[in-house]
Symmetry: C2
Subunit: 259 residues, 2 copies
Amino acid sequence: MPTPPPPPPPNPASAPPKNPTAAILIIGDEILSGRTRDSNMHHLAGELTRIGIDLREVRMVPDDQSAIVAALNALRHAWDHVFTSGGIGPTHDDITADAVAASFGVAIGIRDDARDLLARHYAAQGLDFNESRQRMARIPDGATLIDNPISVAPGFSLGNVHVMAGVPRIFEAMAALILPGLKAGTPVESRNWRVNLGEGTIAADFAALAAEYPDLTMGSYPFSRNGAFGTTLVIRGRDRQRLEAAYARLMSLFPGEPA
Amino acid sequence: MPTPPPPPPPNPASAPPKNPTAAILIIGDEILSGRTRDSNMHHLAGELTRIGIDLREVRMVPDDQSAIVAALNALRHAWDHVFTSGGIGPTHDDITADAVAASFGVAIGIRDDARDLLARHYAAQGLDFNESRQRMARIPDGATLIDNPISVAPGFSLGNVHVMAGVPRIFEAMAALILPGLKAGTPVESRNWRVNLGEGTIAADFAALAAEYPDLTMGSYPFSRNGAFGTTLVIRGRDRQRLEAAYARLMSLFPGEPA
């Protein structure tokens, strides 16, 4: 193997500032029971990566106020943003808004603007705006509403906590509305190289390469396809020059193809 | 609506003992970056429900030792069992075994029985049993191995923590081997009733029913199918007689069909 060129030095002066951080809290017995497979975490993880917000932790808890409050208190103090999914409908098991109010120690009650939105919506449908539906206008004091373009009942942001519906179509619509308003970071880009070698074969050289580029992260993911085993090697980082340099080195180390 | 029959009284003397509890810890940058969609949580959630072990919390963290140790310390003290997924391969980003050793404060080193298993496997394939592959025989002191019928490299149980591979086929095989050895509980059964009514229409009567059966949990899940909206009402519980009584009441409250 020819002697590789030395890597370009990291340039701390031009290094991008730290990215904002985030956590996701998925709320619901139906997820923990295995009845429903969550898709909101995977969707939002990809969207956050795209805009340079680093997802650092996910938790999933049941429809239980003390469990929700404990998770909220841990996550909202640890990370810049917390996104929640689930528990904001009209039924007795929808307790997320109350849990958020309890976590922040603020009051919660029916808010005029949310009630008016919902009242108009149900009137237009000829449906009774009953007490259960009015529950969906209960918003903690100090929150900002998040529009719901699908079924009207709003989510809300309070401090750094963004409360969204669990129904995937509504969750995704709400995320699309609030993410553009958040301070973006420098997106983490990745380069993927697929090799027909086992992880154990590439591990030593791959670790040495990772050690040369401590500012990048490198991971290996085994796969099997049509009975053949191989490994996808992934390099991630925010400095494109360093990323391309490391990727060129990776391609020279092992025969493979872009993945 | 006819007056409903009174519900049968709960029978505390015959109430099943509390179920064992569990948490799942999913480890890996590839999950949090949105590159890979985790499937192990949903698989294991269903298996645990089937044998009466209550899944109470899930966390997902990156390939970062301090994050893994913090999550392990919280979860293993809070719940009866912790199942981990990911980070036990031969590459530098596989740090789960070390994190488990650090969490328990025990030593970790190459273990003879695990090394012998792996040495035979690679010899049979004509592959070098190199230093990276030997890393997969590093097991915390005091652990019990979990067989890997797919690719040999073992998982392990230490105390109440069960460490499994992230590759779904291997994770599922390891889960199938260890779950039968755990103390089972009384499976939580569910009855599902699908109605062509919105959540806001059924909420009040459904909440009243839930209040009559505090020993059961009741949840509602909106859906849309072919442009029609509806709600699936789910009752869960461990006492089948109470469950059937509540389900009969539910069927009499709203027109619908089993889901």
